[in-house]
């Protein structure tokens, strides 16, 4: 296994990940600049896949460019935009480019993005995509036909520790584990007690938990997230804290750092979601070192 992320998690070293969005355009200079900046602070960087169903450069190429720069990517791959042939061919391409980590996702609804008129695919779902990756790691395509050269992906999946009703989501988490997920990157955690419950609950699955830490800039941003981003829910108490703060941006970093420190003892790592304000990532990382 050539994934540094896998090696660190296996050695029970605390991991820190962050994320970059590929450009909406052919100019990759911003992507590479952000990724190089983040790479000095984190172990691996998620490369999002048309996140929020907004059309951007394919994560296959963006993640490949990161590899070329010596940066370890976690390529996000959604089932929304590709059928089973496209998913598998992109995975083979990723393997050839030296991309080792894949985060297998279903994908946000196409209706929340910038191409609402489009047709979403969902030929497979995240569980079936994980199963497919697992087969490819054994040298087979999803139909069992042999590949000339097996892949060696370290696959992960999404999880939502604070979602209600949690029980409805629980069987799918087991299936993700059974299908080959080796780590969960969670939705934003605001309530560490819920994360503790979650970690204990999924402990039998033997999947490493990387807790999502969202860095908020302002109450307005929190309200926007609650309105517009599926699966992300900022609690009212946090919104109030940002509202009453003299410097909301600093307060946002403080909230993120506090949460990250509390999560530290419960899980295998944190995933910092800076929502484009990458300069705050070192501040959150600093409290964890």
């Amino acid at each position: 296994m050539s994934s540094n992320l896998a090696r660190k998690l296996a050695a029970s070293e605390f991991v820190i990940t962050a994320e970059v969005a590929p450009p909406k355009g052919s100019d990759t200079s911003g992507l590479l600049k952000t990724a190089s900046f983040l790479a000095t602070y984190v172990d691996a960087i998620n490369v999002t896949d048309n996140q929020g169903a907004n059309m951007r450069m394919t994560p296959l190429v963006a993640a490949g460019l990161l590899v070329r720069e010596g940066i370890e990517p976690i390529m996000q791959l959604t089932c929304r935009d590709r059928n089973r042939l496209a998913l598998q061919s992109d995975l083979l391409g990723a393997a050839a480019l030296g991309i080792h980590n894949i985060l297998a996702l279903s994908g946000d609804d196409i209706g929340c993005g910038d191409h609402r008129q489009g047709r979403s695919v969902f030929d497979l779902d995240s569980v079936l995509l994980l199963q497919t990756i697992n087969a490819m790691n054994r040298g087979l395509d999803m139909n069992g036909a042999p590949l000339s050269g097996a892949t060696s992906f370290f696959a992960g999946a999404a999880a939502a520790p604070e979602v209600e009703p949690f029980a409805v989501t629980r069987p799918k988490l087991s299936k993700k584990g059974a299908a080959g997920a080796r780590f969960f990157q969670t939705q934003a955690v605001f309530n560490p007690e819920r994360l503790a419950f979650f970690c204990e609950n999924v402990q039998p699955l033997d999947v490493k938990v990387i807790a999502g830490i969202l860095v908020l800039k302002s109450a307005r941003m929190a309200e926007f997230i609650n309105r517009a981003i599926p699966g992300l829910k900022v609690p009212e108490t946090v919104v109030e804290r940002l509202k009453s703060a003299v410097d909301p941006a600093a307060e946002g970093v403080r909230i993120a750092a506090e949460t990250a420190v509390k999560c530290r003892t419960m899980c295998a790592g944190v995933h910092i979601m800076a929502m484009g304000c990458d300069e705050v990532v070192p501040q959150v990382v600093a409290v964890l070192k």
Partner: protein, 203 residues
């Protein structure tokens, strides 16, 4: 109206079955269309409400019974589902105009209230999902559980709809067979979904 440009004579066809129940192509809608076309300066050569426009032989026969009115028309305007519209197209060389956008095969909640429950996918999973179809009722058609957008039991795509997987989970839980959800459901087999499809019953 753009579809009726280039001709003044229109024959209107409705359907006595689904389109009547859905109030998109029954006697009443055919009459209202007739009035609207007259107001727009069109000449309606005749109207007919066929008992099941999707029935190709009957549609052909009923149109032949109105041959003169049909012949006189520049357009046949059909107020039925797409299947009915195509029966009409097959029965005549006249220009056929679709008067409806067919949305879905609907269950009837109560009069005038319809819900899409079946996608006619040819690969039924209802035995595993407590009689609730994830292919249709889940907005993403996910087979193995809810997506990350489910919130307080509501669907990511439509906050006013219940997540299909919440309904499935609760039903199976009440029937004490929620363990069915622990099994990975294999990918859909679209080889079942030949397109276009046809079926001939054996004698």
């Amino acid at each position: 109206m753009a579809a009726l440009e280039g001709g003044d004579h229109v024959f209107i066809i409705g359907c006595a079955k689904c389109a009547t129940v859905c109030k998109s192509g029954g006697e009443e809608e055919v009459f209202r269309m007739q009035e609207a076309l007259a107001a727009a300066g069109k000449d309606v050569t005749g109207t007919i409400v066929i008992d099941e426009t999707c029935h190709m032989l009957r549609t052909g026969r009923d149109l032949r019974s109105r041959r003169e009115q049909v012949e006189e028309a520049d357009f046949l305007l059909v107020l039925s589902c797409g299947a009915g519209i195509q029966s009409v197209a097959e029965a005549t060389e006249k220009k056929v105009v679709a008067g409806t956008d067919s949305k879905f095969l609907g269950n009837i909640r109560r009069f005038g209230q319809f819900e899409q429950r079946c996608s006619l996918c040819g690969d039924c999973r209802l035995n595993d999902t407590g009689g609730v179809c994830p292919v249709t009722v889940c907005a993403k058609g996910l087979l193995n559980g809810p997506c990350g957008g489910m919130e307080d039991g509501a669907c990511e795509v439509d906050q006013n709809s219940r997540c299909a997987w919440v309904t499935i989970y609760e039903r199976l839980e009440r029937q004490q067979r929620a363990e069915r959800l622990d099994e990975i459901t294999p990918a859909r087999d679209f080889a079942h979904k030949r397109h276009p499809n046809s079926l001939v019953l054996e004698k």
